[in-house]
Symmetry: C2
Subunit: 478 residues, 2 copies
Amino acid sequence: MGQVKSITKKSEDISAWYNDVIARAKLAEHGPVRGTMIFRLLGFALWEAIQKTLDTKIKDLGAQNAYFPLFIPLSFLQKEQSHVKGFSPELAVVTHGGGEKLTEPVVVRPTSETIMYDAFSRWIESFRDLPLVINQWSNVVRWEKRPYMFLRTTEFLWQEGHSAHATNEDAQKMADGALKMYVDFYQNTLALYGYAGKKSETEKFPGADTTLTYEILAPDGKVIQACTSHNLGQNFAKVFKVEFQNEQGEKKLVWQTSWGLTTRSIGAVILAHGDDNGLVLPPQIAPLQVVIIPIISKGVDKDAILKMAGQAFGILEGNNIKVKMDDNDQSPGWKFNQYELEGVPLRIEIGSTELKDKSFRVVRRDNKDSFSFKLETIGFEIQQLLSTMQKDLLAKHKDFTLENTRQADTYEDFKKIMSATKGFIEAFWCEDASCEEKIKSETKASTRCFPLDGIKVEGKCIVCGKKSTRRWLFAQSY
Amino acid sequence: MGQVKSITKKSEDISAWYNDVIARAKLAEHGPVRGTMIFRLLGFALWEAIQKTLDTKIKDLGAQNAYFPLFIPLSFLQKEQSHVKGFSPELAVVTHGGGEKLTEPVVVRPTSETIMYDAFSRWIESFRDLPLVINQWSNVVRWEKRPYMFLRTTEFLWQEGHSAHATNEDAQKMADGALKMYVDFYQNTLALYGYAGKKSETEKFPGADTTLTYEILAPDGKVIQACTSHNLGQNFAKVFKVEFQNEQGEKKLVWQTSWGLTTRSIGAVILAHGDDNGLVLPPQIAPLQVVIIPIISKGVDKDAILKMAGQAFGILEGNNIKVKMDDNDQSPGWKFNQYELEGVPLRIEIGSTELKDKSFRVVRRDNKDSFSFKLETIGFEIQQLLSTMQKDLLAKHKDFTLENTRQADTYEDFKKIMSATKGFIEAFWCEDASCEEKIKSETKASTRCFPLDGIKVEGKCIVCGKKSTRRWLFAQSY
């Protein structure tokens, strides 16, 4: 009873609210080893729903699933210089196995480029073997000094796609295609608007030529890097000797990509859509889309109400809607709170009024709008409402993002915005790492990306005044 | 061309045959760290098919999926004495994380009882929270000194179910139910006959009161432990303080079970069903059930043949059969070999004879029986044939198992059988660990189980002559 009341208000302290929602909706818990996380039932159900939708899209990209070992010899990582440099500070190292000290320490995979491409070098012989596109669903470990539920955890779950191609153009097409898939997934499944763009040299993946990203704004004005897609060029092909014989019979190095999306996507959903009453789940990803609550009060024909509830249940299930009827003996008020906390998109109530009217009262989780539907059309109406709610959530998040994307033409303006509202700032930058570093150390804002639909214009770097040809997006990030 | 020819004959050297099939059908490869394994496309597709079928059955048992961390503090394992004793020799230990030596070493999970039950102790408050049944799909690590593809690997994939109950009876029912689910899965999905039974005290899981098992015979007379289901009693509940308040308001310890099935099930399928031409996959688990091969020779109406092939494809796909048409330019003979190697249950050929007859030639992978079907009935006929083949594979493996289950009334007989044919031996044993150990050290055969349907009879231990009330099953194991 009343447990919902003890959630911190989102507007008052978003960080405390976030932890409250995660605990009360039983999404997750801290693991005993610092930085690790237990995915509880609802938290893991969200990941299963993400996997189900995304796996189909990944296969549509031409990928097939495989599974590579968790343990990678340290020497593999050391082959690509920027790769090992980037990942060294985050590695978990196994030094003992089977009761003995290992002759070579092995690392717990932080990502699988090295172990996969070692295999690619054996698997690929000729141009007929290309493109090779492999996807893996797995856990990975990157030691996290500032852990944050879902968004930064030492162990996380993800998919990592890896490909090899005959030309750089083909590789770039793959990297673009993967990013497009992610953008579609974020917008149409998770209802999260964001900016797709290219990372700066400083922010790109260690070992990549270029990194594409999708950046999502959270309500506190900080930004979540929601996925990445890398054109690896021939950097790994060179050191792992991933070669193919082309149609002219010549040995050539392949061109490669890798791209991934992680369980931090769940953190983005919680943060962006949730409200003071708890989670708000986009219908496309909700493990439970509709809950039916019969309201039995004294003097009401219980059997007739349960019959109506049963009919609605049957129709909705027949329409492939994820529906549950809750007729246990908790009070309706308690149930309303509970399902709001858990973010169930629609609630159907059937009480004495509804019985008299032969109608169903339907309440939307996101904006509390209520509707009255008849049995004859309830399947269609609920489908429509789920679809409308899905679109509204995206539109709302898009509005919020655009409202919080500001231009700064001077460094003074930039600093003012970043200390007040935060959010995205579009600003000219000369693309020198030193100016980028100065901005980061003074304002905590880093370059997020150069938007893919950004236009070329003339301007001056807000720090050094040197010529710049495009506005980059800056923000503080999670 | 002709790559199939280089497979070792199964009857000549089953171990070499096994490795050949795994390599040529691209099921798996050794990973760079000794004992680890790369699941290639077909190998992983088999695991995905197993997961899909088993996940539904697991949810029917009342379980829901969650995910617990890979890293477990060493101190957690040390809480249950027999548990840590059993797993210590197999642990992988992480001593460094994020560039620093860890204050407490963490182990990579060999199984998740300890980390899960620590959480259960927080999650369970009253009898209303029971039973709690959680399942996890994950990777686990047990350092393997004698690795063998699929059957014994340092890292393997599995599901582990864990439950907590108010009474020992409820726990035993769960353990029995899980075993029953596995037996059903092995027999009806993987077409593998075996013996369900109880493990000896020596062979049971470290930390369990009793362990149930399903034991499968491979063609070389050695046995595969195919899954286990443990009644853990209150052993873990005691040390992790997993308590609940009963209906009388008293604090009580819960009763627990755990049960798992791993990627070694794929090894059992390969070994038991395969033949000199490669894999033979039971239709229920085959990622590809039917391949259609148009045979285009000179002077034949190519378009008419392709049209027939296309019609068959459409009908089969409409019947939810996993079907592929292969009309690339390799020779039919090469294709036949290739799909036999990969174990595709049925092959449909359409050449000049079939065109003339308006019929389809269908060949079964397992026994090479061929059939001629008309277009009008092909959907139904293929469904039937897949179902017949599924049953025949189980019947064949059952016959093989029964033929290779022998009784030995004296230790001399026992040793003779074990050095000649191997297989299962039913023998009286006094249930003393010393007699069990003597048999193992002298014949390599261990107790596999006391069959659940075994009857009580009077006899004498084949080693010491002491009274015994039941025959145990012995075998050499993988």
